[in-house]
Symmetry: C2
Subunit: 517 residues, 2 copies
């Protein structure tokens, strides 16, 4: 206890107080999340000014509670009691269990990332994000990047200011990146991205050169929203979505929101394609399984919280792709689809399976992309983000660089910025947050491979027995909360270090078979 | 400035800080209210534990922000700058405008009512309220008052503790009463209640003795929920409910929730009676007009907040009774009702008008009561509450006293406690909060009479021109927020002191005509 001064408190008391603070912080975040759900799903549009005020108050109170001096005091008392800092690993000693050490590690990380960021910077950033969101909508509608550029310039200045406050000695991109994927080294992610790009670009080329057109049995019809909603609900029933802890609504951009007691999902409908809503629904269901699998008795602590955007996305991608896009799933679900849309009665499982896995590289829009080209959309954004944040890319050059990369990776060039660099809303918020979408697919494939060592996944899916799959994920991933950093979690869950190998094998096997390569 | 010590801050700085604090407090309350709406309308039932945690955190942070030492310092600096305390009147002097003085007065009142109440008492009270709510549901289902009594005993002990913390020298009932109707002296309210009881009991007797049965043209049919919802929406369209600042949903017990940017309402449906939903919808619409009429640029301050439960209820009762139960309204709306329910095509305006105003004193349930007997249900509760809080009524005697009073006032005696003293959920929360429901009707009648001096209300209603009515209320009531205490507001709005005269005239005229007395 040499480093603790005389005013220091007893570590077990410090731990209790830290937990209490953690619970308050969680409650504030979950309140904000519920208000955000409401804003996107239920709120009349005129409610914005009051809602913005509420969210801003909750966020500034959270910042105060997280950065308060007493938090540092408690953390110091606990760390000198046996927690190793800086490594991302928690080692127990003296009074703390492994789980407690993980709690201390996570609160320390959050505290350190917030304590030197002035409250007024957070406020300016939040206000500017709201404004940028508005400007982006107008600029996209007008296909006018120049209109968006000044807001983007200001946004990056604010984010650089925040990065410098957190760690002035570090590359700002690296600092911002850690918001999204803490503990997963950027080098590891970029190595994986290199592997993916080197593998996927030629695979997509091969598919295009092969010239085989997969069937599109769902095309050419109109699908009314009401029946699509009923179908999504029916599919969720089959998957076992517990409506006492969740609900399905619609939103323009589907998302999941909530915690282990209340994990809600949204979907959206395309009139000409029921697969769009179905895959979105299953994807968001996957996110919900993660929240609902977190330990209920750890609500309010890091042990009851999801780990990172990457691990979250592994759960949604697992259900969307490794369940929802399998032949076994379509054997199970096609009759339900036909019940809702009787005009599909002649569609075969093979046709449906092919349709849901079709590759269409001429698509320009990330959120409409297929399972392969999606990752090149993500990689492109990460590359541009990094160059822009590090000052290697001028704002005026963004549209051109975007279009060049699209051409390079996918052989297609946007004709407008609305279909190019203005398509996504992400720059209304920040930078360096996209890696998780692709890392999620990589993790999903690795988890899927490990699950298949233990379970007859296809047979279970064919029978509609989804509980064992969900329970496997809860046992291997969900129940740990933030107990382990990502790489450690994957090793604990699968017995192997994080690797892109399973993902590349999975796509090779599936798409070579589908396209006869 | 004699009373201000050397650490005191500049009054204008103090005022800015007080406003900032007020905005935070408002945001916390509005966030809680939105989360409460969600809980009652949208939340899956399993979400309760997390939601309870969120609400508890928001409430305890609000208590801390309201009772902080700096708030007292700012208030003192401002009061010594020219605000008179204690009188309920704000007088400007030196630096403060009338409006600013009202802001100071309201924050002072809130601060003083919270500062001596320990945070842990609030937490115990909140936790016990949740528990009592549960016990009440079980006791009501089992028709077992004895099961409810211990929770009620504990609740009153906690409320007495809170009252003693606020003002140990004052009668606890009086202290608790001021939560609900600040500035309106209890003596005034009880004098009005005496007048009402003395007037309404014989009037209801006369109606019963007269033996005239009003027509019930809506009875004997089934009304499906979907069409009733469409009818409620259509009526709201006619009334001019702005959906960019509101929405209609369903809830078991209808309520309004929100602020000047987002005021949402709920309704509920009885399969055998469309009037139930219609009047509930119009009632809640009235509440929403008040919120939506508050000045938007004063959101976050007392000048942008509703005044009291009584004034709120005056707005709902005005629309429900002085608009929605008039013959003019039924001339306007009956065709819309018939469009939705074509089997009503032969119903006349006279029949509909009579049906919506029918008196049925044999009803035992407050929330299903007619316009006259309703107030005796309220008065009964207030009398029992007061005797109980003041220690003049033993808990075991409550059921008997309840039934005696029902017999006395309405000539009907509940056979079970489920239909008697267990019918309402109010004792799960507190005591002394019912006066506003009846005061609201009294205020509504007085405001209605004043409005009719300025506007041809019936002609406007018949034409579906509701904007002038709403604008009159905004001009005379809403726009003032908490600028004036209730009695002053009514005098400003109507040119006369608060009086029950208009209410008694209104019910006499309407019901004597309807029943041929």
């Amino acid at each position: 206890m040499a480093t603790v001064d005389e005013t220091a408190i007893d570590p077990s008391d410090a731990y209790d107080r830290l937990l209490e603070r953690s619970e308050k912080l969680t409650n504030l975040r979950m309140a904000s999340m519920a208000l955000g759900w409401d804003q996107r799903v239920m709120m009349p549009e005129g409610g914005t000014p009051a809602r913005a005020g509420q969210l801003s108050t909750l966020s500034s109170l959270g910042h105060e509670l997280l950065t308060a001096d007493e938090v540092a005091t408690w953390l110091e008392a606990l760390e000198s009691d046996g927690v190793t800092r800086d490594t991302g690993n928690a080692e127990s000693a003296d009074g703390l269990t492994d789980e407690q050490a993980a709690v201390v590690r996570e609160l320390r990380r959050e505290h350190d990332r917030a304590v030197d960021v002035p409250a007024d910077l957070i406020e300016r950033l939040t206000a500017h994000q709201a404004e940028t969101q508005q400007v982006w909508q107008e600029a996209k509608a007008a296909d006018d990047f120049e209109r968006f550029a000044p807001a983007l310039e200001e946004l990056i200045a604010l984010h650089r200011e925040r990065a410098a406050a957190i760690d002035p000695a570090e590359n700002p991109y690296r600092v911002l990146y850690e918001d999204s994927l803490p503990y997963l080294p950027l080098e590891t992610v970029e190595r994986i991205f290199d592997e993916l790009r080197e593998h996927l670009v030629p695979l997509i080329d091969e598919i295009q050169d092969r010239g085989r057109e997969l069937p599109t049995p769902f095309a050419g019809h109109t699908y009314d929203e009401e029946t699509q909603m009923a179908l999504s609900e029916a599919v969720l029933d089959v998957l076992g979505y517990d409506r006492t802890h969740g609900r399905l609504d619609t939103a323009p951009h589907p998302f999941m929101s909530g915690n282990q007691f209340d994990a809600r999902i949204t979907t959206r409908f395309r009139e000409d394609d029921p697969l769009d809503a179905l895959t979105a629904t299953i994807h968001e269901f996957g996110h919900a399984t993660y929240q609902l699998g977190l330990p209920k008795d750890q609500y309010g602590t890091p042990l009851g919280s999801s780990l990172s955007s990457g691990v979250h996305e592994s759960q949604s991608r697992f259900w969307e792709n490794h369940v929802g896009r399998t032949r076994a799933f379509w054997e199970l679900i096609l009759p339900t689809v036909k019940e809702h849309f009787p005009h599909l009665e002649d569609v075969t499982v093979d046709e449906a399976y092919a349709a849901v896995n079709r590759i269409y590289p001429d698509n320009l829009i990330r959120v409409e992309a297929d399972e392969l080209t999606y990752h090149l959309h993500v990689i492109l954004r990460c590359e541009i983000d990094r160059a822009f944040v590090e000052g290697d890319l001028d704002i005026v050059d963004i549209p051109e660089v975007w279009n060049d990369k699209m051409d390079d990776y996918l052989g297609v060039r946007p004709k407008t910025d609305a279909e190019g660099c203005l398509q996504d809303t992400h720059w209304s918020y920040g930078f360096a947050g996209f890696q998780g979408y692709t890392i999620g697919s990589v993790l999903a494939a690795q988890l899927d491979a490990a699950m298949r060592e233990d379970l007859e996944v296809d047979a279970l899916v064919r029978e509609g027995e989804f509980d064992p799959l969900r329970e496997w994920m809860t046992e291997h991933v969900h129940r740990h909360g933030q107990r382990y950093p990502t790489e450690e979690l994957i090793e604990v869950a699968t017995g192997e270090p994080l690797t892109a190998e399973y993902f590349l094998e999975y796509v090779d096997e599936k798409f070579r078979a589908l396209y006869g390569l």
